[in-house]
Amino acid sequence: MAKNKWYDRMITAAFWSAGLFIVLILASIIAYIAVKGISAISLDFILQPPSRAGRAGGISTTIVSTVYLTLMSLLIAVPVGVGSAIYLQEYAHSQSRFGRLVNLIAETLAGIPSIVFGLFGFVFFVVFLDLGWSILSGSLTLAIMILPTITRTAQEAILAVAHEYRENSLALGASRWQTVSRVILPSALPGIVTGIILSIGRAVGETAAIILTAGSSLGMPIAPSDPARTMAVHLYLMAMEGISAERAFGTALLLVILIVIINYLANLSLKRFSQAVR
């Protein structure tokens, strides 16, 4: 009996240390970047454009490029993703043949490596449609990549809306679209927003697909046809070419801060959603 107790305690200790180890990995990555990067970050670093290929100056153009690409890709992916979620849940049935096919495709798209999306974006948007290395090519490619997340979270959010809402609205003589737009979407909104926030996180960090479709020009992008270099691509090129360790750390820290904020917001909206549904 005593031996058994010791054995049990050791197993419990092993499980606790597994959990602790995960926390340790995350904490040491974030602490390392924060300690090394904090001295690089200043108002000038954020507001000044890079000069001499990133050896001097700030990273303002890469911040603008990141925001520009992310917003453009959301502009494309959110209507399509939410629209198809509404169609599958409210018009067709998600268990219909068509519904299952679309969901299988979404799952497949979610698993495809970003470098393959990069190759596709390059041959289709950059070359075939002749959009060049540009914000437009980059955001169309990104839009396809975030589509699965948006449509899946939107479907789950719509599914969670109580059946009575739907039935009461229809019973009161509202049309299908009136029911969707005035009853279902408002209740599902926080869930849909959570998916959008998670997609922003993915878009901000994406590198492989962007480098092949939006290029790596350091100029300030104005028109959607301009090439662009995002913060993530900038970090990659600076690290690989050993350009400026200090500025690379600064960029990495800004990226991590952005991701922490995005995750916090996603959790917040998820909490609001579970309260709304309840």
Binding site: A18, I29, V102
Partner: protein
């Protein structure tokens, strides 16, 4: 009669909206079709010209002379992926069990949001930290120049942890409570219940987690390219530099043209086919293993 036109207008509007929504769902089918067509049309010519066996198994890659064998890169991808999984899969499953069964509720939830943060950190940031911390550590303590299979395995392992943990945890949580209660009532200890009842019942979900983690590892590009040295030769030790299929594409797309570019698309095509097949198999496994009451 008076309400006729308005009603008609309304039904026109309704059917227009329905068609628009159906079109957006239909876009998914179009997108996957266009991706497949374009990747294949660019990748297939060189692939067939070289011959599929030579292309995949030949380890001679001299693109400037028109010799395209990605065998070394296939081996590189396998070496890095397997060695990442060797440590990350057991740790991930143990963490999932910890979160679902052992930790008090609030600690499990807190760990859950930390794992989400781990999943959100961009791959370039992982590569960057790997390049500046893991690579010098290997160089100083284990030898070689540090850019190696091992560096890739460490960085990639951390990156697949969230996938393995999240999916395994959901599978464990989905096991009906009656199973555990029955086992405990029969006098089994908590740990015996976990090992012999809960994990076997969550088996299909845990397998899905491992396979998807593997897919993630094979497809990862930026972190791997930054820490593995990228020599296009088959690795002969865990400290040797290595180039994966994904690295091959991102390193050479910048300047490749003609058949060389075609060969990079062939590499992408091989990856694409492999990952899609993996996902379809997982889809089947998840459906077959409906014992969790999932799906």
């Amino acid at each position: 009669m008076k309400r006729g036109p308005a009603k008609k207008r309304r039904s026109h509007k309704e059917s227009f909206i329905e068609k628009t929504l159906a079109f957006s769902a239909g876009l998914f089918v179009m997108v996957i079709a266009v991706i497949t067509i374009f990747i294949f049309s660019k990748g297939l010519p060189v692939f067939l010209q070289v011959g599929w066996q030579d292309f995949i198994f030949d380890t001679d890659w001299r693109p400037t002379r028109g010799i395209f064998g990605i065998g070394a890169m296939v081996l590189g991808s396998i070496a890095v992926t397997v060695s990442a999984m060797v440590w990350a899969v057991p740790l991930g499953i143990a963490t999932a069990v910890f979160m679902a069964e052992i930790a008090p509720g609030h600690i499990g939830r807190m760990l859950g949001s930390l794992v989400e943060l781990l999943a959100g950190i961009p791959s370039v940031v992982y590569g960057f930290v790997g390049l500046l911390v893991v690579v010098p550590f290997i160089r100083q303590h284990l030898g070689g120049n540090g850019l190696s299979v091992l560096a890739g395995a460490i960085v990639l392992g951390v990156m697949i942890l969230p996938t393995v943990i999240n999916i395994s945890r959901d599978a464990i949580l989905a096991v009906p409570k009656e199973y555990a209660e029955g086992s405990l009532a029969l006098g089994a200890s908590h740990h015996q219940t976990i090992a012999r009842v809960i994990i076997p019942a969550a088996r299909s979900g845990i397998i899905t987690a491992i396979v998807l983690g593997m897919g993630r590892a094979i497809g990862e590009t930026m972190a791997v390219v930054m820490v593995t040295g990228n020599a296009p030769v088959a690795p002969n030790s865990i400290l040797a530099p290595v180039r994966t299929m994904t690295s091959n594409i991102v390193l050479e797309m910048g300047y490749a043209s003609g058949d060389h570019q075609g060969a990079l698309f062939s590499t992408g095509m091989v990856l694409f086919v492999f990952i899609v097949a993996l996902n379809l198999v997982v889809n089947r496994v998840a459906k077959a293993g409906g014992i969790n009451g999932k799906k």
